[in-house]
């Protein structure tokens, strides 16, 4: 039995390794794309933030005589350039035409209550820091006005003024470390990438080994070999499975390589998080992806053997992409946390577990539960695949 399975496995693996398309999806993309995506996204975010923080903002101001000191605040710092000659009625148009970045309309200071300064700017830009930078200056001005008023009332020390303004303060002591906070925010994306690469790694070999074999006319002669069909399926399944695991492991290796090369150079909290992901975490993430690859291999092989041609198999597997993406993306939704129930939901459980491993908050009991449930599902799907492969109406659909 083992001889037959190994014979089929060795032959199929040899063929797969000679297929350029499979090699690209199995080896090149996972190794190259994850570090590339990570590097490019970090670079873009850093540069966009830096630019938003330091670029010179052009602005128009109306009724400046009502708060002349506020305007001094803008004059005293670099990064702001005043533009005159724009009528108040054309503020929106001027911002849209990019003649100015923002406009301030200063109201008549009220006798009682706060003065509401109007800040006009395009809020659609995600990287914009206009409100932060303007508020920083306005807050400093407001603080000065406040301090002057309280001093006139006899509160001459900072402590006395603080005691009146904020008599009770809540000091937050977060139990989450920085790794957990950032892992929660960004940790959903990595399992998504790992799982998708695992799926893509299985995809082409599965189509080639079943539908491709039908199309080439080699399946019938293979079925006439004195080998039980279950052994043929297992040999083919193992190749697809190995391809999926290889793609997933190479994606993790790509990630690991990026962490090693760039992680040390990343500054601040992100660098701290990156450096705290250990080798054991990466190994456990790899372990989570092994039964996942088996699920994909069994599913894709079953679909592929049903198809009459390579093209038909591709059209069947296209909707499967969505079926895979949805549960994986579910792990990125707010409120979806790893617990006993989610641990039983295929793919979402793996995705959540990888996220927890990145955050450093994995409950290892749940890890075992996920591994067990995923392995059982993979076994059932493999059972289905072997049964499916023995059906005449599947093998000889035409």
């Amino acid at each position: 039995m083992l001889h037959n399975i190994l014979t089929v496995f060795a032959k199929e693996l040899r063929e797969v390794l000679r297929d350029r398309k499979t090699l690209i999806f199995m080896c090149v993309l996972p190794v190259a794309l994850i570090p590339l995506l990570a590097s490019v996204s970090v670079k873009f975010v850093t540069e966009a933030n830096e630019k938003a923080r330091t670029e010179t903002l052009e602005y128009a101001v109306y009724h400046q005589e009502r708060m002349p000191e506020l305007l001094h605040g803008f004059d005293d710092v670099t990064g702001f350039a005043r533009v005159d000659g724009i009528a108040q009625t054309e503020i929106a148009a001027a911002i849209e035409d990019e003649r100015i970045d923002f406009a301030l309309v200063i109201p008549e200071p009220p006798e009682v209550g706060a003065a509401h300064i109007e800040l006009h700017y395009n809020t659609a830009s995600q990287t914009s820091k206009i409100d932060d930078r303007v508020e920083e200056i306005v807050d400093a001005y407001a603080k000065k006005v406040q301090t002057d008023a309280l001093t006139q009332l006899g509160l001459t020390t900072a402590e006395a003024r603080e005691g009146i303004l904020t008599p009770v303060v809540v000091d937050t002591h977060s139990t989450a470390d920085m790794r957990e906070v950032i892992g929660e925010a960004a940790g959903g994306l990595l399992p998504y990438l790992f799982i998708i690469f695992c799926f893509l790694g299985c995809l082409y070999p599965a189509i080639d080994l079943a539908a491709g074999e039908k199309e080439r006319g080699t399946l019938e002669t293979l079925l006439l070999a004195p080998v039980p069909r279950v052994q043929l399926v297992i040999g083919k399944f193992l190749v697809v499975f190995v391809a999926g695991v290889t793609a997933a492991v190479l994606a993790i290796v790509g990630m690991g390589a990026w962490l090693l090369s760039e992680g040390q150079e990343l500054r601040g909290a992100l660098g701290e998080v990156v450096n705290s992901v250990s080798t054991l975490d990466l190994v456990l993430i790899g372990a989570m992806l092994i039964p996942t690859a088996a699920i994909f291999a069994a599913m894709l092989l079953s679909i592929s053997i049903y198809a009459k041609s390579f093209k038909e198999a591709q059209s069947y597997t296209a909707p499967l992409n969505m079926i895979v993406i949805l549960p994986v993306a579910l792990a990125m939704m707010p409120g979806v946390e790893l617990d006993g129930t989610w641990a039983m939901v295929p793919l979402t459980n793996t995705s959540l577990a990888i996220k927890e491993l990145i955050k450093g908050t994995m409950d290892y009991t749940l890890l075992v539960l996920i591994l067990a449930s995923t392995t059982i599902l993979a076994g059932l799907l493999l059972g289905f695949c072997t049964w499916w492969f023995r059906r005449e109406d599947v093998l000889f659909r035409n």
Binding site: H3, N4, T7, V8, K11, R14, E15, R18, D19, R216, G217, T218, E220, T221, L222, L223, L224, A225, P226, V227, P228, E392, D393, L395, F396
Partner: protein, 270 residues
């Protein structure tokens, strides 16, 4: 010896689904079409002795391929029996496959493997040991003049070269019975000649041969007996001479058409 007795095969007709297309033309009256079943092969019987060639004739869609797929154990018969050297094809399909070689005109090769790798693969699946595989490949390569392309990737081979590789693949385990399903389809004269020579050689070496073709000159040249199938049922069994005599035709093409277009019970003309 191959004994086929009342072999039958039916398939369930596909149900009309939400998206199934309506047929553009009316379904031609076909006795095999009995919803929900399609009776592809209806009680075919014949025998083939070692060292003889049985020609399996019939128009396209007659049921020849289904019959040969049953004989080669790819499909399980719905009813009837077939056995080779006393081994039942349903009860012991693996044992039958060990003694069986199958070649068709549409059989493909593994494009990314070389002929040597592919033949070795099938040899191993048939339980032939490595030493014997090496010896047999060398022998067949010499006989079929395959030396020049034995280690070239199969994708790069011509149709004739590919058919030679298929022949070698069919013979690697030295089968006792060989089934040929339209093996010369799409081949040029030279490649077809190689295949026909090979079929004759199989017969001379005492193998039982079942041979399906549309070319009557091939039937005349090779077949010891003929089984003609139409609409899944046997219409004639006998020698080539019997076929000509019973139809009172000079040529096999005419005899074939006459038998196919004869209405009535199966084996009417036999």
């Amino acid at each position: 010896m191959l004994i086929v007795e009342d072999l039958q095969k039916r398939f369930r007709l596909a149900k009309k689904g939400l998206f199934s297309k309506k047929p553009k033309t009316a379904v031609v009256s076909d006795p095999r079409h009995q919803p929900p079943w399609f009776h592809a092969v209806r009680g075919v019987s014949f025998q083939a002795q070692p060292g003889t060639i049985v020609g399996l004739l019939g128009p396209n869609g007659a049921g020849k391929t289904t019959l040969m797929r049953m004989l080669s154990t790819a499909l399980t018969p719905t009813a009837g029996t077939a056995s080779f050297a006393g081994i039942d094809i349903v009860q012991n399909p693996l044992e039958v496959r060990r003694k069986l070689g199958f070649l068709s005109g549409t059989t493909g090769l593994y494009g990314r493997l070389t002929p040597r790798e592919m033949i070795t693969y099938y040899g191993r699946l048939h339980g032939v040991d490595n030493q014997a595989i090496t010896t047999r490949i060398a022998e067949m390569s010499r006989n079929l003049e395959m030396d020049s392309f034995l280690d070239r990737q199969s994708d790069t081979l011509s149709a004739g070269m590919k058919q030679k590789v298929s022949i070698a693949r069919t013979l690697i385990h030295d089968p006792e019975i060989v089934i040929f399903d339209e093996p010369t389809t799409g081949l040029d004269v030279s490649a077809a000649q190689t295949v026909l020579d090979f079929i004759g050689e199989c017969c001379q070496r005492g193998k039982t041969v079942v041979f399906s073709t549309h070319h009557m000159h091939e039937v005349k040249r090779l077949c010891d007996s003929v089984v003609l199938i139409h609409e899944g049922a046997r219409r004639f069994i006998g020698t080539v001479d019997d076929m000509l005599e019973q139809t009172a035709c000079e040529h096999l093409d005419q005899a074939f058409l006459k038998l196919v277009h004869t209405q009535g019970n199966p084996d009417h003309a036999a």
